[in-house]
């Protein structure tokens, strides 16, 4: 089980690092997916070897669905943003400030 957890942790940290360092909106989105999948591995691992049972499987399925929905919304936002600003650099998205 530790191996699963280790992989998940690596994935999670990769995802976080990706979110923290990428300026590309798509890249940030990919980082989010990595984090979510790291969490999914944890759910599945705890469902297989821990006390969580089938609940863990169900949770990870939910997370996948949510991630898909989130990806769809986020991609739509990115597309829109690109239409308006000809870029998807998240640092340029500063219109709500001031």
């Amino acid at each position: 089980m530790n191996a699963y957890l280790a992989v998940a942790a690596v994935l999670f940290v990769c995802g976080v690092m990706c979110m923290a360092t990428k300026r590309n909106g798509i890249g940030v989105l990919m980082g989010v997916e990595l984090v979510l999948n790291g969490a999914n591995i944890n759910f599945v691992a705890f469902s297989k070897y821990g006390l969580l049972g089938l609940d863990g499987q169900i949770f990870s399925l939910f997370v996948i669905v949510l991630a898909a929905a989130e990806a769809a919304v986020a991609l739509a936002i990115a597309l829109n943003f690109y239409n308006n600003h000809l870029t998807i650099d998240v640092d340029q998205a500063s219109e709500l400030k001031n």
Binding site: V16, R23, V28, A93, S94, K97
Partner: protein, 814 residues
């Protein structure tokens, strides 16, 4: 008189006089609401008014005949003993002539003309006056406790005489006014006495219909006053005639002088009416009855005022002395009323009612309104301000005579005495023709009051009626002069007018001779008495009463000498007016050249009135007129009184007056001739130049021209103090009341300013501080929200890690 005959005659009289009374009201309503403002040239209102009042005159005559018949009175039973006994020579002169005129004059000529040789007149006088009086109630307005407020009627000899006099004079004056007011018959009347800026005159539509409407209303009010059967009702009509007088004086309302004169008349009358109200209140509280007397045998239990105050034979039953003295009231058995009234309170009531008479009759000290009232059109002066309304005061004093104590009578006498002297002296120097007559009216009203005051009830009313005729005649003559001279009233601009207006001149002469009391001396006729116009008889009677009174009360001998001398002054100023107007050289050729005699519609009333001014008093005090109203004389007057009242006054009886008659008549005649002669010397023959005399008595002349400075005095006495008090009040208002309000207002402002500071410094500050703190905190937090996504992620990651670290540090074993 049996109750059946009483009620039959009473209701007949009532209906006749009520019709005569209400007809002018009907006329008034039609004239004022009849839409005559649409046709200013219509003479219909005038014809209506004349028709109403003339019908009233006919009805009054019928009533007079009915009354004489019912009272079983022989008006033509007079004799001439009064004069022929003393100076009986030349008795046959002019006998036929006088007989003819008597027959002409006789309205009730069914009566025979036998000439008794005894004093038959006194038979009537000694009788109970209530026997020939009829009274009753029209309508009960309301009953408050024991106070009954009703509309009553009271008809006796005085009422019918007054009705006939008022309606006759009013008819003449109405007819005269058709001519006099004819320049109002236009859509564009130009009032030459109202000067507008720019030298223009005031233009307005004519007010012919309105004038006659007011006259009709006045006739209604005046007749109502005479017919009224209780003192409260008299007060109502008293005020109504006052209103009519106000409306008529202010007829030319655009003229400032006219509107102020109307106000003055109205306000001065209110002063007198205040006294009237006090009298009414006393009567209300102590008698609870307003009715004069109740003579209806069917309701004999309800006594009127006169019946309560005096016994059947007219004595005042008193108890106690001084301030404790009380007058026992009669005929009040079995009723919850006071059985007596304090003597002084009865005096107060009498004085109060007399105060009303002072105002209405323009007596001293309220006489100043009457000359100003001459601002009204001349027919108004003739009707309202000489013949009828101002005489109403004398009428009421005579009507209310039984209620007057000797103290009140003395006050009346002195007021009359002062008034007659003041009026006559001012008339000496006045140059406005109407004002001469106004002052003369004041003076003659003073004579009437004096006569009433000295116990000459008959004499006072005698003069009231004769004066009404000759004074209205003279006023109409002056109106004719004014009309003929195109509204010129200054006698100094007239002169020589007898050629231009002969009828006016000679009718005026009749009036002048009548008021002067001239007679042909030492000539008496067997039936008629002295050969003289009406004024001689009545003035004679007054002087005789005054002489008798002053010989009985030597302390009050002034009450004889003043009227005697004033008789001379009267003759002087009257002839002065006549000479100045009609004789001598024309002083203003513009006026003279345009003068013309008035049309027939104006001269005919002059002729009618001059006929009555000559013959109304025919027979003197034994004549039909005196016999007629003399039946209404209060029972106590004929006997006189000795040591009456608290002041021990001696009142003359008829017999005593009779004894002094010849003496007084001679004195009065002498003085009148002297006055006439003086006037002739001054103004007609030119033997004495009035200008020189005027210069020699400069200060006296000025004093008289200033009307004894009464207006100045009243200005000082009333207006100035009122102004001073008003300025005090203004100052009080300004400095105290306004100061208080201003002070409170500024202190409120001060407090508000402090409050504002507190608000700003404490309440607002605390709220602001809260807001500012929030703001600064928020600003600080704002710095955190950079919008840098990676920074947020780092923050989240670091926080989560640090959270875990912390959890592991603080809860290690779990």
């Amino acid at each position: 008189m049996s109750p059946e005959i009483y009620s039959e005659v009473g209701s007949l009289l009532k209906w006749l006089l009520t019709a005569a009374w209400l007809l002018p009201l009907l006329g008034f309503l039609v004239e004022i609401f009849g839409g005559y403002w649409a046709d200013r040239k219509s003479k219909v209102p005038a014809y209506l008014a004349v028709g109403c009042i003339a019908t009233g005159f006919l009805l009054s005559l019928i009533a007079l005949g009915t009354w004489v018949d019912a009272a079983d009175m022989n008006l033509w039973a007079f004799e001439s003993a009064g004069h022929s006994a003393e100076h009986g020579e030349g008795a046959e002169h002019g006998d036929d002539h006088e007989h003819a005129t008597v027959a002409e004059h006789d309205h009730a000529d069914a009566h025979d003309e036998e000439h008794h040789e005894h004093a038959s007149a006194d038979e009537h006088h000694g009788n109970d006056p209530l026997k020939t009086a009829f009274s009753g109630t029209f309508y009960r307005l309301g009953k408050f406790g024991r106070l009954d407020v009703t509309l009553d009627w009271y008809i006796d000899g005085l009422t019918v005489a007054m009705f006939a006099m008022v309606t006759l004079i009013a008819s003449c004056i109405h007819i005269f006014a058709i001519g006099y007011m004819s320049d109002e018959l236009t859509e564009h009347y130009e009032d030459h006495f109202v000067h507008l800026p720019g030298g223009r005159h005031f233009h307005r539509p004519g007010r012919f219909y309105r004038f006659f409407a007011y006259l009709s209303l006045f006739c209604f009010s005046m007749l109502g006053l005479v017919l009224a059967g209780n003192i409260f009702q008299v007060f109502i009509f008293w005020e109504l005639v006052g209103v009519c007088s106000y409306l008529l004086i202010g007829f030319y309302v655009e003229r400032h002088s006219a509107s102020t004169a109307a106000n003055k008349a109205f306000i001065m009358n209110r002063v007198g009416d205040f006294g009237f109200l006090i009298g009414l209140m006393v009567i209300w509280t102590w008698f609870g009855v307003f009715q004069f007397a109740n003579t209806d045998p069917a309701h004999a239990d309800q006594a009127g005022l006169f019946q309560m105050v005096r016994t059947h034979d007219g004595t005042l039953v008193t108890e106690g002395e001084g301030m404790e003295k009380t007058v026992s009231l009669q005929h009040i058995e079995g009723e919850a009323r006071p059985s007596s009234i304090p003597y002084w309170l009865l005096t107060v009531a009498g004085l109060g009612i007399f105060a009303g008479c002072i105002g209405k009759s323009a007596q001293f000290p309220l006489q100043t309104w009457l000359p100003d009232a001459m601002e009204g059109p001349t027919p108004v002066s003739a009707l309202v301000h000489s013949a009828t309304m101002v005489a109403a005061g004398v009428y009421l004093a005579a009507r209310f005579y039984p209620m007057f104590t000797p103290e009140v009578l003395l006050v009346i006498a002195y007021v009359g005495c002062i008034t007659l002297f003041i009026g006559a002296t001012i008339a000496l120097v006045v140059t406005d023709i109407k004002r001469v007559l106004a002052y003369s009216t004041i003076s003659q009203l003073g004579y009437m009051m004096l006569a009433l005051g000295v116990g000459g009830w008959i004499a006072g009313l005698f003069h009231l009626i004769t004066h009404a005729f000759f004074k209205s005649l003279m006023f109409l003559c002056s109106g004719s002069v004014i009309h003929g001279c195109h509204h010129e009233q200054e006698m100094t601009k007239m002169g020589g007018l007898y050629k231009k207006m002969p009828i006016t001149c000679w009718t005026m002469f009749v009036g002048v001779v009548a008021i002067c009391g001239l007679a042909i001396p030492f000539v008496t006729l067997p039936a008629i008495g002295a050969v003289a116009f009406s004024g001689f008889h009545s003035k004679d009677a007054i002087i005789a009463s005054a002489l008798t009174f002053s010989s009985l009360n030597p302390v009050h001998s002034l009450l004889f000498y003043v009227p005697l001398i004033t008789a001379g002054i009267t003759a002087f100023y009257m002839f002065r007016m006549w000479f100045m107007t009609f004789f001598g050289k024309p002083k203003d050729h513009h006026v003279y050249d345009h003068a013309h005699e008035s049309p027939t519609v104006m001269t005919a009333p002059l002729l009618i009135l001059s006929f009555f001014a000559i013959f109304v008093a025919v027979g003197g005090e034994a004549g039909p007129l005196v016999t007629l109203y003399g039946a209404a004389e209060p029972a106590h007057v004929a006997m006189g009184a000795t040591d009456a009242g608290n002041i021990g006054l001696n009142l003359p009886s008829h017999e005593q007056i009779h004894n002094f008659h010849a003496q007084a008549g001679m004195a009065a005649l002498l003085v009148a001739f002297a006055g006439t002669l003086l006037a002739y010397l001054f103004y007609a023959s030119g033997a004495v130049d009035p200008g020189t005399v005027k210069r020699q008595f400069e200060s006296v002349h000025e004093f008289l021209v200033d009307k004894w400075r009464f207006d100045v005095l009243y200005d000082w006495m009333w207006q100035r103090p009122v102004h001073v008090v008003a300025s005090w009040c203004t100052a009080f208002d300004k400095y105290v009341l306004d100061g208080l309000i201003h002070g409170s207002a500024s202190s409120v402002v001060k407090i508000a300013q402090w409050d504002r500071k507190f608000d700003e410094a404490v309440v607002d500050r605390s709220v602001n501080v809260l807001g500012e703190v929030t703001m600064s905190v928020a600003n600080w937090f704002r710095g955190l929200q950079t919008g840098q996504l990676r920074q947020y992620v780092m923050l989240i990651a670091v926080s989560v890690v640090s959270l875990f670290v912390l959890v592991f540090i603080f809860f290690p074993g779990q």
